[in-house]
Symmetry: C2
Subunit: 229 residues, 2 copies
């Protein structure tokens, strides 16, 4: 489903170049549940943003269902994001002026889902992440873990083919985290959703994912090879 071909993302900072992603070639098949691991600053979020079509590579190709994201126009990328991808950001990125229900509903409005259907799906998504009692809260009126779960509910509401989750349980206690992981795993086993999940917890990755990908200094490492920094 996803194939990156020598993809790079560089940032120029004055005289320096930061090679956030530095030549990554990886193939993730349809229906796979891949965990992306690596030290802080190794390029995980950058790679996720490239696959999500939220950022453009400096060079290389990103093929999703055969189409190269690097060649798409902004409108085509927006359409790809709306219809294919559900994303949980490392910092949640909820809209501060909207309440929880409105935030979760947002992707469906962009995808032009029927209004009658939207309500039911919002309720269902929030029930699954156990936030039904927080519908009217704005993000600042939610705990960190509640915001994280809200971001997941929003990512799921359009039943995306591809779920990109950047640290979906980083702010959750182990029991709540486990519920969330079971929910994500269920999407994979029952709906065949392709999943790429960044996590810092190797044990979590080994328990739920069927494949581990390691990044170090913007490059892919062999499984088990320690990062160089």
């Amino acid at each position: 489903a996803i194939q990156t071909v020598d993809v790079r993302r560089h940032y120029r900072m004055g005289e320096n170049v930061i090679k956030a992603v530095d030549g990554v070639s990886v193939t993730i098949k349809q229906g796979e549940f891949a965990a992306l691991l690596g030290t802080s600053g190794s390029g995980k979020s950058t790679l996720m943003n490239l696959i999500a079509g939220l950022d453009r590579p400096s060079s290389g190709a990103i093929l999703v269902h055969g189409r190269d994201l690097a060649q798409m126009s902004s409108e085509e990328l927006a359409k790809y994001r709306r219809h294919t991808v559900g994303m949980v950001f490392q910092s949640f990125n909820l809209v501060p002026t909207m309440n929880l229900a409105e935030n979760v509903e947002l992707p469906m409005r962009f995808a032009e889902v029927d209004r009658s259907e939207r309500d039911a799906r919002v309720q269902d998504a929030l029930k699954r992440v156990r936030l039904s009692a927080r519908l009217t809260h704005r993000p600042s009126e939610l705990s960190g873990g509640e915001q994280q779960r809200a971001a997941l509910a929003r990512a799921l509401v359009n039943k995306p083919q591809l779920l990109l989750a950047d640290e979906p349980t980083g702010n959750l206690d182990s029991r709540t985290g486990e519920e969330i992981m079971n929910l994500i795993q269920e999407l994979n086993t029952t709906l065949g959703t392709t999943i790429v999940m960044v996590t810092h917890e190797r044990s979590l990755a080994e328990r739920y994912a069927n494949r581990l990908i390691f990044l170090g200094d913007g490059k892919m490492l062999d499984a088990g090879e320690p990062a160089t920094t």
Copy 2:
């Protein structure tokens, strides 16, 4: 050093009242390293904000070094925060328009530290959290874990008597997380800094803290008692 006396923080939402902190009486001695654990939404960040003087209780007292925060004026609370507390927020709260060095310097400017001294302390704080190579980056140009470490560097730069750290390693891989925990523990053992750390990882708490406090539904639980939700 810190004593809360039946402290409560309620939020009114229309007809409902949310009892985020619901009668917590806890004493944390000077120099203690306390870990605060509990499920998502159990009131940990709310309690931390009350102890930091960033939020006022609905009722009850919060005595820090003998003074009741609930009785202080806004100016007195600001002074308390500036001189006594260093805080790492669950969502970091770095200033988006300033770069890393400026963000870390900020508490010293508020505390009116001499300019010549400030530079050296910023460099030292950033070296300890391994961010010397990111001085000129703004928060949006840093990875999640780098932002988290920057927030810690900022919290330490005034050598506070009390360090309140809300999930200081939630966005860090285990090796980087360990370095950060060693740094925090070192403050406690060498400088006698009182530490209250929220964490979701019980193993981390047991390894570094000398005391565990459990919250559930806004109340303190007996050690080992599972949360009711």
